[in-house]
């Protein structure tokens, strides 16, 4: 049974179904969107339940000829690396769609673009033919452009085009690098499995050039300094649900690409470039945290904190240690959940107050106790407080990082401190202090908002206490990855 194709194309089918409906039937549109993404989520859970984690090979493989002229195949498969990210994608998409039910303007196009985006994201994590991977990667750009540009905030036009141009710029270098690898193998192939079998014999200079090409494409998405400037703008201007997807899933694509394609196919280059990338990771951590501290817009703060958190994951990744890899994957999952929850919560207050300036709130704990409790929990998770989800990820990343780059890791610990600082400042300014009478009329979280936030909360606490739930299925794959990276 072609489970992976079903997973990938079901959201698109839902989207096409929505297009067929007249635009007045907003209720039917929402129901179809929720059903489509709900079905995809349940199928992905089934996949998780049936995934045999004992071997690191690819499972549920689907491979068909697509464009034989170029030896391009339609090659989908899942392994320990893509599985947690896949489930993160389907979960966050479902929650984001449910949280978008309050959108009143142009409902049909909104959910259509959302479902196309979901198809593209799932495709990115499942594709193992480099051409197919590239197609899905680029396919995420168009729906995001429209989602940010039509339903976004005041500066949405600029945010949308900046996001598009930055990512497109990185992607074309990725395409050239993919072409380079294609021509270097004999017979020419885009297939990851075949490249892996042949690829480690690439000479060092070639590996380095291709690695840089791929890195340019991935680093825009991570987002690594200095190609990160699109992120604060895009996050702030995007509507709530889109920010959730952006922070929760799209940012993971970059690191996933590095782990899936760059490292195994170009091991020598990976080792040589690791130190440089580690420095960039540290800059992400410290610079991101410091910038976040300076912000007055809550969403911008969280955007910069995303840069900071992805810095930890990057550090764990380029430590090239098994434990670092575990940390990176866990950090990706936990950050997805935490950032997703944070953006949903910001959406709660923005929907009511229509402002995100932290200086004008105050004492909200009186009016919105539930909101305060949940926000505080998620903020503590984000700053890495045990036993919540943020802690295992960061800790494992630091363990890995310390093994390879002790001084750099020591510097990045400053980031943890500053992160704690700005989240506490955030909590203080919004919830503590005297109550600002302007917000008399605000209500606490309603049922819809609680429904979308609750699963994330449960998971944040759950995987914080039981990180093995995420790490066990992934372990064999990551150890295999470490073996692939061992230099002869």
């Amino acid at each position: 049974m072609h489970v992976l194709s079903l997973l990938t194309w079901l959201p698109l089918a839902g989207g096409l179904g929505i297009l067929a409906l007249p635009k007045e039937q907003t209720k039917a549109i929402r129901v179809i969107a929720a059903l489509a993404s709900g079905a995809v989520f349940i199928i992905s859970l089934w996949l998780w339940a049936h995934y045999p984690g004992e071997v690191p090979e690819f499972k549920f493989v689907e491979k068909f000829d697509w464009i034989p002229a170029f030896n391009i195949h339609y090659f989908l498969a899942v392994d320990g690396l893509s599985l947690p990210l896949l489930i993160l994608t389907t979960l966050l998409s479902l929650l984001a769609i449910i949280s978008s039910f309050h959108i009143q303007e142009r409902v049909k196009e909104y959910f259509f673009f959302f479902l196309v985006l979901e198809t593209a994201m799932i495709g990115v994590f499942l594709a193992l033919d480099l051409f197919l991977f590239y197609v899905f990667w680029e396919l995420t750009l168009i729906p995001m452009y429209f989602l940010i540009g039509i339903w976004g905030g005041p500066r949405k036009d600029f945010a949308a085009i900046k996001f598009f141009l930055f990512t497109f710029f990185g992607s074309v270098f990725m395409l050239i690098a993919i072409l380079a690898m294609y021509f270097q193998t004999d017979p020419h192939t885009f297939d990851y499995a075949e490249l892996l079998a042949r690829g480690t014999t690439f000479n060092v200079r070639f590996q380095m050039i291709v690695f840089i090409g791929l890195y340019l494409g991935f680093s825009v998405k991570i987002p690594a300094f200095p190609l990160h400037t699109w992120l604060p703008l895009a996050h702030v201007e995007a509507p709530t649900a889109v920010s959730v997807i952006l922070a929760g899933v799209l940012l993971k694509m970059g690191l996933y690409g590095l782990m899936r394609f760059s490292f195994p196919l170009l091991p020598v280059a990976a080792h040589q470039a690791a130190y440089a990338i580690a420095i960039i990771a540290v800059i992400n951590v410290v610079y991101g945290a410091v910038c976040a501290l300076a912000q007055t817009d809550i969403k911008r703060m969280i955007a910069y904190s995303s840069i900071n958190h992805m810095g930890y994951a990057m550090l764990g990744l380029v430590s090239l240690q098994v434990i670092g890899f575990h940390g990176a994957v866990f950090q990706m999952v936990s950050h997805g959940l935490i950032a997703g929850a944070l953006f949903l919560l910001v959406g709660v207050i923005y929907d009511r107050a229509h402002t995100r300036d932290i200086n004008i709130f105050g004492g909200m704990s009186e009016r919105m106790p539930v909101f305060m409790g949940i926000t505080m929990l998620v903020c503590f998770a984000s700053l890495g407080l045990p036993p919540l989800a943020g802690f295992p990820g960061e800790f494992l990343c630091f363990l890995g990082g310390f093994q390879s780059y002790p001084y750099l890791t020591a510097i990045s610990l400053i980031g943890v401190l500053i992160t704690a600082a700005f989240f506490l400042v955030l909590i203080k300014k919004i919830f503590m202090g005297t109550f600002n009478k302007k917000w008399e009329a605000l209500s606490d979280m309603n049922l819809r908002e609680l429904i979308v936030t609750a699963p994330l909360l449960l998971l944040i606490v759950g995987i914080g206490v039981f990180p093995s739930v995420v790490l066990d299925p992934v372990s064999t794959t990551l150890i295999h990855l470490y073996d692939l990276l061992k230099l002869p």
């Binding site: 697509w66 034989p68 002229a69 170029f70 168009i142 598009f164 497109f168 050239i176 072409l179 021509f183």
Partner: protein, 481 residues
């Protein structure tokens, strides 16, 4: 055999015959009644479909006829089909073009068919004289067509500019041909292959001759630095003619450039690839950079066509089987993407009142179908998957990379990013701005048919290009050793 010659001449003869028939209709009618218009429209449609039926299949290596002055091979076949399909879509678009209301169109259609005949001659030319004949047979009707709205100042201006450039480029062409004839002793392209070494032997005169021919091609295809006429002519000419000029002559010109510069001259050891690579790079870059500042959609598409010719030239530069197939594929895909974009612009021109970007504000709400299709074509022109534009660009990238032109590939990739900036400006105005009025924007059947065809190919070749790639590879004429 005389009968076989007529078989190969079939398409050109059919088009010319109908063209004269339409001139006859023009002579007999005076007042542009609805009946006349309908008659001429259907006659032209029949003409194009009849021509499509008589396009002969040929062995890919080719059959030469008319005393070896013309050849019918895979290249002629493929590009004749491109011409015929372009004509078909243009006839559909011209019929309901609002600026043509109240005008007699019999001359228009007659000239259109005549220029198509010229293009078919051009792509089947095996002799420089035939090349010149084909170029002129296309050019002269196009001057008149560009100025067809003779009561509009911009149209007359466009016609005069096109005439001056056309005359200049024809003069350069004939001068270059004369020099080459003087050196090699023949205008035939087959003989040129054997005598091409004389061109380098008689340097610099040989190089000067080739230089003039290249300049003439550059002017016709509108490569940088010979592109300056394009925006003004496109803006002034009636939009279906702008659509014609942006596709058919450029693609046919690229085809004949392929024949001359890829199939013939390499035999003589004449290396001009770097020159074409530089022109290609300049066209892409300048076309895109100049397009960034445009506020008029037609001018924007004009600059985009200059850039796309730059991409197309990459296939010529790469040479070899993949390069030539790349040119075929790109030509086919470009025809559909570009005509699709022009189709939307043409259908909306009267209703929106102007071609400025401001007029397109809020089109996403006023006419979701038009806006969606225009966005789709613009996304394809940018080269984003899963559209045909991406597949075509990818084919050219891989052929250029394989031939070692890595810097050109990187330049083309960067240019795709730059072009996204102005293509998405149009999308921005359509979707992110509020409409200025809510008057309905109807789409006629003819336009719907055009849009359906173009969008079908743009999507189908993007998702499942294999069948098309096999066909193009089968028709690719391989350079003879």
């Amino acid at each position: 055999m005389i009968t076989t010659t007529y078989r190969w001449l079939g398409p050109a003869l059919m088009l010319s015959a109908f063209s004269f028939l339409l001139f006859g209709v023009d002579a007999w009618t005076r007042i542009p009644t609805a009946g006349n218009r309908r008659l001429t429209f259907w006659m032209t449609l029949v003409a194009v479909i009849a021509t499509a039926c008589v396009i002969p299949m040929a062995p890919v290596e080719g059959v030469s006829f008319a005393h070896h002055m013309l050849v019918w091979d895979g290249l002629s076949y493929f590009f004749s089909w491109i011409t015929v399909i372009a004509m078909l879509l243009l006839v559909l678009l011209s019929e309901n073009f609002a600026d043509f209301d109240g005008l007699r169109l019999s001359t228009y259609y007659g000239l259109l068919l005549m220029s198509a005949a010229g293009l078919i001659f051009l792509v089947s030319a095996n002799d420089f004289i035939m090349v010149f004949l084909g170029v002129e047979l296309f050019a002269v009707p196009s001057f008149i067509l560009a100025g067809y709205l003779r009561h509009h100042e911009r149209s007359t201006e466009a016609a005069v500019k096109l005439l001056l450039i056309g005359a200049f480029s024809s003069a350069m062409l004939i001068y270059g041909i004369a020099i080459v004839y003087g050196i090699t002793g023949s205008t035939s392209l087959t003989e040129l292959r054997d005598h091409a070494y004389l061109l380098s032997k008689m340097a610099p005169l040989g190089y000067i001759g080739i230089f003039f021919i290249v300049v003439s091609f550059g002017l016709k295809i509108a490569l940088v630095p010979f592109h300056v006429w394009v925006p003004d002519v496109f803006e002034g000419a009636p939009k279906p003619i702008a659509a014609l000029l942006s596709t058919a002559p450029k693609l046919a010109g690229a085809a004949i450039a392929l024949r001359v510069f890829n199939l013939i001259l390499p035999g003589g050891g004449f290396n001009y690839l770097m020159m074409f690579a530089v022109m290609s790079g300049l066209s892409m870059t300048l076309g895109n950079i100049l397009g960034l500042k445009q506020t008029n959609v037609v001018r924007l598409l004009a600059y985009s066509s200059i850039a796309h010719m730059g991409y197309l030239l990459m296939g010529l530069v790469s040479g070899g089987t993949t390069g030539i197939t790349g040119v075929y594929i790109y030509a086919w895909v470009y025809l559909f993407m570009n005509l699709g974009a022009f189709a939307v612009v043409i259908s909306l021109s009267k209703a929106l009142g102007s071609d400025e970007l401001e007029a397109y504000a809020g089109l996403g709400k006023r006419s979701p179908m038009s806006a969606a299709l225009l966005s789709f074509f613009l996304i394809s022109l940018t080269g984003v998957p899963p559209t045909a534009g991406f597949v075509a660009k990818f084919y050219l990238f891989q052929s250029a990379y394989q031939s070692g032109w890595v810097w050109l590939v990187i330049l083309a990739a960067l240019n795709s990013v730059i072009s996204a900036a102005y293509y998405f400006k149009v999308i921005h105005w359509m979707y992110f701005r509020d409409p200025v009025s809510v008057a309905p924007l109807p789409l006629t059947t003819a336009v719907r048919l055009t849009l359906a065809t173009t969008s079908f190919f743009t999507l189908a070749i993007g998702l499942a290009p294999q069948m098309f790639i096999t066909a193009a590879q089968a028709l690719s004429v391989i350079p003879r050793p």
